[in-house]
């Protein structure tokens, strides 16, 4: 979706605020928010792409007003309601509805270390070979999907060169909407800064994006 989250190339956001010796969390509620998201996420009711999409669905003005962890909190509430793990009535009252079904056993302390050790893996075996080769010119399609996508607006319509092939990975555009993993070949594509931003950009510089085969067409 063409949301405000897709902000590559925007102007007017101001200077970058730097902080020396920054703590991992600035407030305890931030730590609780990420821990809650990961703990409930372990129930398997949604995936990483659905979680990202829950952030993108925050209305633009609020997205820009909120801090990073406020967005995570808003996203978690959306995921809980969408998945049916928590009803809107329960979210409003803060009290469980009597008779509401209890969930599967929650994430326990013993399962936390294995959860990290197992990591997150998105490469999948596929039968078809990659359509594009390293060194080949490709164009990022000019598409405007209303759902989740990982093709940023600033790359659409531009021509780049395949720099490497990462294998076939879970396709976010379908996975975010629970329409299957639909794995596709994933390419690192090099776009010259001038292709993306025009003649004022440095002739030497480039931006690399990881783009699924579905996002690309031959030149």
């Amino acid at each position: 979706m063409n949301g405000v989250h897709d902000m590559g190339g925007m102007h007017g956001m101001g200077p970058i605020a730097l902080e020396a010796n920054e703590p991992v969390f600035h407030e305890r509620w931030e730590a609780r928010t990420i821990a809650l998201t990961r703990a409930v996420g372990a129930c398997g009711k949604w995936n990483i792409d659905a979680q990202r999409h829950s952030l993108e669905r925050i209305p633009p003005a609020e997205y820009l007003r909120m801090s990073y962890y406020e967005r995570w909190l808003a996203g978690l509430v959306t995921l809980l309601a969408d998945s049916g793990l928590v009803t809107r009535g329960e979210l409003a009252s803060g009290e469980p509805v009597s008779g509401a079904a209890k969930a599967a056993p929650p994430l326990t302390v013993e399962r936390v270390a294995p959860l990290f050790a197992q990591g997150r893996w998105f490469e999948r075996p596929v039968n078809l070979p990659p359509r594009f080769a390293i060194g080949q010119q490709v164009r990022a399609k000019k598409i405007n999907p209303t759902g989740h996508t990982r093709l940023p607006r600033y790359a659409r319509g531009n021509v780049g060169v395949v720099d490497r092939i990462h294998g076939a990975h879970v396709f976010p555009d379908s996975n975010a909407h629970f329409r299957g993993e639909n794995p596709g070949h994933l390419y690192s594509v090099r776009f010259s800064a001038r292709e993306l931003w025009g003649e004022a950009a440095s002739a030497r510089d480039a931006v690399y994006l990881d783009l699924w085969e579905d996002y690309l067409e031959p030149v």
Binding site: N21, A35, A39, I58, E62, E70, G94, A117, F122, L196
Partner: protein, 202 residues
């Protein structure tokens, strides 16, 4: 669009507390597991892991070659770093090339080797500007990249994660691997700083 943030108290600290209590009552969350997750984020993952990878690459050319060809496997070799396995690509800074990592769409970041990202990495100014004005962005970090040096910006649009292998600082020839790791800053592994003998606070 469904959006429920106003159904809980407006102060985020109170809202999280209310939500946690609801989720515990519903049997969806074990508070002890939350503590263990937070302990992992605060103490078990972090940029020290990435710094060890960088220092090993500086002292061991074979390891460096493996790291640049398959970052995921090379990081897994150093067992103590393998706390949150992820697809990793390592890109090398040289006198002719400077790499900078960003995620314009959200804030994807190599948690396994760097821990959770700093606020600046998640900020709108960085996410919006890194791809269109990397040289201006780097100047705000105190880095003036020569016009003859190529800048490569890596926008993390997939589950591939990117780690910058910074240049080893001049004058570090006599340092041990451990001492070298102590010089490597988080920002240098994102591409927003160079490594110096003085170390750094970011």
């Amino acid at each position: 669009m469904d959006h429920d943030h106003q159904e809980l108290p407006s102060d985020p600290a109170l809202r999280v507390m209310a939500l946690e209590s609801l989720l515990v009552e519903k049997g969806l969350v074990d508070p002890a597991a939350l503590d263990a997750l937070i302990d992992t984020y605060e103490h078990k993952i972090g940029p020290r892991n990435g710094a060890r990878v960088v220092a090993r690459a500086w002292v061991d050319p074979d390891y460096k070659a493996r790291l640049l060809s398959d970052g995921t496997a090379a990081v897994a070799e150093l067992g103590y770093v393998n706390r949150d396995r992820e697809h990793l690509v390592v890109v090398e800074n040289t006198p002719e090339r400077h790499n900078l990592v960003v995620c314009t769409l959200c804030s994807c970041y190599p948690w396994a080797v760097l821990g959770l990202p700093p606020n600046w990495y998640k900020s709108f100014p960085y996410r919006s500007r890194a791809v269109i004005d990397p040289r201006g962005v780097l100047r705000e970090f105190g880095l003036d990249i020569d016009e003859h040096v190529e800048i490569r910006v890596w926008d993390s649009t997939s589950e591939m994660r990117y780690l910058v292998l910074p240049e080893r600082p001049p004058g570090s020839e006599d340092l041990t691997e451990e001492q070298l790791a102590g010089l490597v800053t988080r920002d240098a592994m994102i591409g927003a700083a160079k490594v110096s003998l003085a170390g750094g606070s970011r």
